[in-house]
Symmetry: C2
Subunit: 315 residues, 2 copies
């Protein structure tokens, strides 16, 4: 009986200047999926295990039906398109809080695909899995958004063109780290989309374009001051901040402690702050934690580098 | 009597995916300005000469009053901020058609500043001239837009953050060339702004952001197919195309002849097409010319590489 286990990391989508198109993977936190080949040409979700330290109740509604489960959905498409003569049984171990804005469903999808790929008679390139990963994610969010799942799969900071099933890697120099604080409550992705403006002014669009381009250049040039000046979001962040009480206090604490910039991770409520080096990230994280501790005594927090590798097969 | 002459090239702003923020300089076509130190702390426009092959009548309204002339305006600011004890007399030789969308006023401003800088007792770095250049341009367009003048001054493909008086250089690999066709009629910049939408949908914004990021990545990676796929503008181009009869026919001719992409140069009516290599650019230009010849028998056209140097002191 062929089986493989893969791990895929949590990820930070949007990255302040790239709503629905930029994302990067974290190290340490992630989902693990075991995939076993079965005779029927279908996908069975055998088990969903909740990792230590995560709130079990929040996962109760995680669906096992393949056509509602992110991890399974990508595999169904994979079986169909690759014309496989068999199916997969999957066992998911969640390490990412549900509805945290850290790409939990994306990580499950990425890990499931990578593990399934490992049990094929002839494995595909990692990049060939992209379209199945985005299809899986579409189940979770109701639209094609690959800005979590592609970074989780491939690592690095990525520009993701979800409609076109393609991506580009952002040239990254320097020792970038991230401080991440999850307040501990679940924010529904659909709700986080509802609060967004349907239209924006052309001026706001141009300012946002300028910031995106300058941040990409700043990352490529390893120019932290350029990134600091332009890592600003005046479109998405103001709309979603109202859903995250004390968001501005936590962000302010990060900037006061020396963070290059920070914003909401994905749809939230997780707050991320960008730093150079682990030492600065630790200091920034402590400051964020202090600012969050009164309202969010049960928050989770971590420091991470930007994962260069993304998802990996464990065995 | 101290004097210097500088040349600054024409430029293509917007570049399809970077409205009001991206631009690059051309080779060959440009404005030349002689600057002479005078005792009075002011700027005098001594003469404006119209280069060969340009329509003299279209330049009649080019103002000599310093506070209305782009080239003079930047110098006035330069004198004030640098606390100079003298002024400048300038002689402008126009090589760029007025209202063509090729950054004519920007080139005059860039050349004037560079020449003035050359007659200082102690010249500044080229990059120190940026804010004066943008101030000069503001006279012409009514707002701070440096996406012509900064590329004209510094060369290369630049991301220009006009409000912040700063820029970043787009990493550029490969032998990029441009085919440029000026239909021969003047399009007023203010009119070209009036037709733009005041607001756009968030979806259109996100698609535009994705295209901008992917094109920047494609240029840096020298991946023409990526640039081809994403060098598309669905916001500005459709609004301005109505001001340029046969625009779509000319663009179609460029693409059919193998251009990587193309759009309106700056505010128009000039049409540019991007190619790899001069041979392809020549073929594309011929195709564009054929498409334009019936409606625009007096059009001007040229092939150019992207100027790496920008403005230069001639003597």
């Amino acid at each position: 009986m062929k089986s493989a286990i893969a791990f895929a990391p949590a990820s930070v989508a949007n990255f302040a200047v790239g709503f629905d198109l930029l994302g990067f993977a974290l190290e340490g936190m992630g989902d693990t999926v075991r995939v076993t080949r079965i005779e029927e040409k279908t996908v069975r979700v055998r088990s969903i295990e909740i990792g230590e330290g995560l709130d079990r109740e929040s996962f109760v509604e995680l669906p096992k039906e393949p056509e509602k489960n992110t991890a399974a959905m990508g595999l169904l498409e994979f079986i169909r398109e690759q014309k496989l003569e068999y199916g997969f049984e999957i066992e998911i171990k969640k390490g990412i809080p549900l509805g945290s804005g850290l790409g939990g469903s994306a990580a499950s999808a990425a890990a499931a695909l990578l593990a399934a790929n490992a049990v094929l008679d002839r494995s595909l390139e990692k990049s060939a899995l992209i379209k199945y990963a985005i299809t899986g994610e579409a189940v979770a969010s109701g639209a094609r958004h690959g800005d979590n799942v592609i970074p989780s799969l491939l690592g690095g900071v990525l520009i993701v063109a979800s409609e076109e099933n393609t991506y580009a890697r952002v040239a990254l120099k320097g020792d970038w780290h991230v401080a991440v604080l999850y307040p501990g409550f679940r924010l529904d992705t659909r709700r986080a989309r509802e609060v967004l403006p349907k239209t924006i002014t052309l001026k706001a669009h141009t300012r946002a374009q300028t910031r995106l381009a300058m941040v990409l250049a700043g990352l490529a040039e390893n120019d932290p001051e350029k990134v600091r000046q332009f890592l600003v979001d005046e479109i998405i962040e103001p709309a979603r901040a109202s859903l995250i009480p004390d968001f501005y206090e936590i962000k302010r604490a990060a900037l006061d402690a020396g963070a290059i910039g920070g914003s909401i991770s994905g749809a939230g409520p997780t707050v991320f702050a960008l730093t150079q080096g682990r030492v600065q990230a630790e200091r920034v994280l402590k400051s964020m934690g202090d600012a969050a501790s009164t309202r969010y005594p049960k928050h989770l927090r971590m420091v991470s580098s930007i994962s260069a590798e993304g998802a990996r097969v464990l065995k």
